[in-house]
Symmetry: C3
Subunit: 417 residues, 3 copies
């Protein structure tokens, strides 16, 4: 391949990597904004750890599980620990004629940034009552093993890929996977104390909507890399199209959530609109390269409209999700996956069936894996903090510090002095 | 065109698109920081809606109005609803020899991100007392119709372009346009209750200077895409130069505002310096590709120096602008437009006159359009909240929620349960 | 050079420039989060001024001092005020065959963004008690003269470069330099009032850990440009590798600080983990292009582990550093510099010695320069605010405003009305 072209393609994937990285800040800000003040340090701590743990485990084992190479079509495979280090630019250019479109450095780091995002989704859903240690163990194992296995089924050339399943950038592989794991956690943890009472459902507002808004804008910002980078080259026609469909779907999601939440709640609910933006983005992710602009608006608009309905549904089911992660990532992830069979150049009943099979089987595997893992943790070291710790807040009970110190009280406890 | 070169050029415009996108977060953060706590959700809500409404209307009608094609030199034109979808990369490369330097995907999404920014400027100026519904209707119509019409006059090959008007990245077309619309809104809305009293002008400080600062840095960050992307290619000489002039003008604006605000107020006023940064950026925008580094410092420095004078002037005129948007975008936008006739390779009395004609005619059209639109809204559904709602704050009266919940009080009101 | 390739290389350095720029927001957010509420405006003001002052002085004199051209191998040189402006793209392409890999626009603005970062490091360390005016004078002179002189020793082809010193992206040249200057300031300023008492060390927690976390993520984000841009081209093999080593070192730093701080303090200290991320990043910076992934994890992990030890050490020495800048930038900067002699393709006792010589001589020069400069300021206009001003907070005493206004009290004081 021409050197300038190879360099430009590679450059785009590296920039997309940076954009996906900053989605971790987006998630951290969003989730911090939507929990109570007393659990803010905890959520920030978890999200800082997640990205680092995710990168390390993906380097050690995840990448080898997700891209095992070989014949393809399988359910499980493993290539190696670590990554095969590429040669210099000259050897890369030579290899490009054999279809190696980017160095393994680039491929690894782009995929590695994806890996941890599904764990971040879980983080928000189980916030305000999960034990820090148990959560970190869960994340480590889930990201190291479960995410790459189901990822391989499609992106690693596995059986779903051979069957014709389509998931461009991960409505299922990343978002619904995170959502299914979150659902398992919610079921085993139970609701936050005082959320569902005899007198009804008690709304528990987030402590900082500016931070929540900051998070949503950063997520949209990062999504240009998440979807745009999934073209796996800088092809001007494809990346340009993906930018348009991604943006219009987010815009559609905003308006969809705005209208439906106004109809349902008779007010202008910022948190609904913010989740509508994300719903639109999750919805377009599976087919961002297949849809026309109008189809993108429709898919995003429907995703946004689903958000307030889904939030109310989960609350009625007494499935307590402080940040609405299951509505955004699970429900809209499923919707986006199915939408590939309904809209766009792949639409058709056959494709719709395959999309259903894909999201169902990945969902079942993920839910089972996460449920068993959370269950083992629950019966061994426990997954839930005590009620006293929950009431005091996890910042004090797990971290001995407060997110906001207005006086000179102790923030970090120097036991060693 | 060579494939690698075409891809690299297109890649830069796509990245510039992302950078202009994040300016919306910059505006949201800045404006949220500069309003009172009780109006924070409202400003965040508006800015989230604006970017989505802007993208949708620009897709549906704005792009067709702004780039009508044809002979050029006109006052008004319309090509089509939506955009003409381009072919694949091979057809794009073929078309590039005929001067189509990027796919319509890229052109549309880059321009679409610009469109909504002028509405964001209005948002800050009319904050803390405008009705949400009326504002959203205003924004929808203004961005769909007024912005693209005046935009066409210059960037769409219209009469100002033929006349030799120069506005590289939009000191007039984006910033002054937003500022003129803001001025119309301010005039029809009136000042916030209690701002101008018999005893003098009451300063109403913003509720979070950290958020305001965050916003300004993000705006500078995004401005690399705003100005740099306006080269419309990745030409190494031009984009590099624009980065230098843009940065040095911002730096000049910082120092200019620092000095003059210290002389005027005898203190180190952070909000003045922050607006000085933005003033410098707005000022260089019309001629970022024409100026030498020293000229950029001068233009930015003067723009920054104008800020404190302008803020005091508007306050004396009892034109109440909570975030200083008219000083930054209108006054410095006019200054930057005129500066093209004073500094740089185009300087000259003839050019200065044309610059004056350009900013005046666009200003007149925009002000008239915005004034009439706001006026119609005023005499029909009303544009101002009641005094009781204003005192309570728009967050409660329009959204039934608070930006910061320190307890477990209701944040979003689930009327449906 | 091929046009597409030249454009792509240049584009990456420009994007890296933007990323390094946003590190200034990272520093501002981190430092604002780690100081007390009453000193927040002050730190935001300083960091806004620093980037602008840094760009202006680097344009005027710094760039000419740092890249004097000529024979090389020297201790001091000066080419010119300002920069030599390049020609158009055609002349740039012609010059590229002679080894000019990018236009001087790009080279200047990328290096200019680096220059101010070392001053930002000082800003945090001397926070909460330094006089604003003295600090700004210090920063102006330090960035204009000291930073470029030691920078020239290595990156400008000076004596350390000839000797074989290796500092890829500035563990010494930027981070340790900032750290040594910070140390001089801390020594001359003394600790904050009430920090070290007869009863022991009083922890003074930061006022907003969400802002501190935001800052750290933005710094990591920007570091992709800081290290990745230091390849000085978009070479796919090199930039890809640097992304991997940088990310894995940050991840290693996170885990290293997590483990050691837990062992030391028996709690999960967010500020330690955040500084661990930064420690890992500073540590890998000197050899990001030389290390294997496992070596990067080791270097980052050790850097992270050093953080809590170093923070406790400085506190025992009664060297009061509100944000831990000396631990992160000085200690981990030295560690990263030495690590080039211990790990990676350059490892060896000879190299280790050269690394030691490099960091020592640059450290000595910088410390002496900063100490003398701070000392002159101390004995002339003074460098420390009065105890009364310190207790009241610098926001009121230096700026007459508060970072957070919950009521309608005066924020900026319009003395002119």
């Amino acid at each position: 391949m021409d050197e300038g072209l190879y360099i430009a393609n590679n450059l785009w994937i590296l920039i997309a990597t940076i954009l996906v990285f900053i989605m971790h800040l987006g998630f951290a800000s969003l989730e911090a904004g939507l929990v109570r003040k007393k659990n803010t340090v905890n959520i920030l701590f978890k999200n800082t750890m997640i990205v680092s743990i995710g990168l390390l485990t993906y380097y050690i084992i995840g990448y080898g599980l997700m891209y095992p190479g070989g014949e393809g079509g399988g359910f499980f495979g493993f290539k190696q620990f670590g990554i095969e280090e590429p040669g210099d630019l000259a050897s890369l250019l030579a290899a490009s004629s054999e279809g190696f479109v980017m160095p393994s450095w680039t491929d690894f780091i782009f995929q590695g940034m994806f890996a941890a995002t599904c764990a971040t989704i879980v983080s928000g859903a189980v916030a305000e009552r999960i034990k820090l240690g148990s959560f970190l163990i869960f994340v480590t194992i889930f990201v190291a093993i479960s995410y790459p296995i189901t990822g391989m089924w499609q992106w690693g050339g596995g059986w779903l890929n051979v069957m014709g399943f389509y998931d461009f950038a991960g409505s299922t592989l990343v978002h619904a996977v995170g959502g299914f794991a979150a659902l398992a956690g919610i079921l085993l943890l139970g609701a936050r104390t005082g959320k569902y009472t005899d007198k009804g459902i008690k709304p528990i507002p987030g402590h900082s909507l500016p931070f929540a808004t900051l998070g949503v804008f950063l997520l949209w910002f990062g999504w240009f890399g998440f979807n745009g980078g999934s073209v796996l080259s800088a092809d001007a026609a494809s990346v340009g199209k993906v930018f348009v469909t991604t943006s219009l779907a987010a815009a559609g999601g905003t308006v969809g959530a705005f209208i439906i939440s106004y109809v349902m709640f008779k007010t202008h609910d910022l948190s609904m609109v913010l989740n509508g933006v994300l719903g639109g983005l999750v919805g377009i992710t599976a087919g961002a390269d297949l849809m026309s602009p109008m189809e993108a608006i429709a898919i995003g608009g429907i995703a946004g409209a689903i958000i307030p309905l889904s939030v109310v549904f989960f609350d009625k089911m007494k499935l307590d999700d402080p940040v609405g992660a299951t509505s955004v990532h699970l429900v809209c992830g499923i919707w986006g996956t199915l939408a590939v069979g309904i809209f766009g150049s792949s639409a058709g009943l056959g494709q719709l069936w395959i999309q259903f099979v894909g999201v169902s089987t990945i969902g079942l595997f993920t839910f089972a894996f996460a449920f068993i893992l959370f269950y083992i943790l629950k019966v061994t070291i426990g997954i839930r903090v005590t009620e006293e710790e929950e009431l005091k807040g996890l910042d004090i009970s797990e971290h001995e510090m407060s997110a906001y110190s207005s006086s000179d009280t102790v923030a970090y406890n120097l036991n060693v002095q």
